[in-house]
Subunit: 187 residues, 2 copies
Amino acid sequence: MGSKGEALRQRIVAAADELFYRQGYENTSFSDIADAVGISRGNFYYHFKSKDEILSAVIDSRVAAIVTMLNEWDKKFKDPRQRLYYYIDMPLRDQENICLHGCPVGSLCTELAKINRTMLDDANRMFAVFRDWLILQLNFLGVRKNVKKIAMHFIARVQGIVTVTNAFEDKDFLQQETKQLKKWQCR
Amino acid sequence: MGSKGEALRQRIVAAADELFYRQGYENTSFSDIADAVGISRGNFYYHFKSKDEILSAVIDSRVAAIVTMLNEWDKKFKDPRQRLYYYIDMPLRDQENICLHGCPVGSLCTELAKINRTMLDDANRMFAVFRDWLILQLNFLGVRKNVKKIAMHFIARVQGIVTVTNAFEDKDFLQQETKQLKKWQCR
DNA sequence: CTAATTATAGGACAATCGTCCTATAATTAG
DNA sequence: CTAATTATAGGACGATTGTCCTATAATTAG
């Protein structure tokens, strides 16, 4: 069984994941990833036969990571309102990277909308996982009307904050808007 | 005087502007732009000596276009609240493009944050022009406290809406969130 | 008209891109 | 141990990239 090959495959995905986040998908070459992992391009191509394929693997890996993370949040916080706050605070906990590279989910979707619309439908699953989890928390909170709309509203709010934070490299804005968003209540 | 050359220069900038918006900066080559204008690559290089230079010209052109547009809005609407609504409705008036390509300002900043941080400081001037105009309108409305913060808040709200609209190709979301944002009032 | 300047075309340039192939090396199965 | 499979390295491939050069065409200045 290819257990050693599987381990390398995961290292490749992890390296590609970070590079796509830091310098964008289009701007990251096979060589960049191979160099980061410390293997040859030929070997890289043995594991992933095309750039679409490595992108697809990175998206799957991110979706899985988000699911795992949300499960941990569920264990950590029993109060759905606390969980909601923890979601809103997520960019705050990763200020440096958010400031420099934006949101891994949002920025990838924004890029794919321009260069690879086929993969966009794959990428926005990352948003969908958050959305479905948010819907659950809103249900727990007793919200009954427009639950999906409100979940999407939260995602959009966070995306907007991150986009502006990234464009202006402005952590103060991130902090102040995050605080304000937590004052949200159902209208 | 190079008045014919100047006319071509503007056609080049216009073509690059649209291509950068539709397929991204990194993913647009000199050949793409030259083909779109119908000139040779050599001629293109006579007018713009590097990719940074054409990007810089596109950003300047966009900033100027935004200034012109906001002046027209000022003529068109005397009520600052109406002007604010017209700003919020901007993505709605360009639904098709927003859905397909996102925000020209936001998506360019997001891309440049990853591939060309030097130019990012140039690009976010596009946001700054909107911000300063919004500050003016808020002043007219009698808002005295946190005016800059509120202006940035509006920009972030619109950015978030557009990012999600683009990622999900969801016009309904755009319409409903736009309507909700117009219910905003100072707290 | 002539000379100088500006504009345009076309191709050369090295580098890099994604892709693919082949020859070994390492591992596993029998 | 031997044979088969899996993994790895290295380089060839055509295409494309941004950049630059040179020769000509068009325009302008005297």
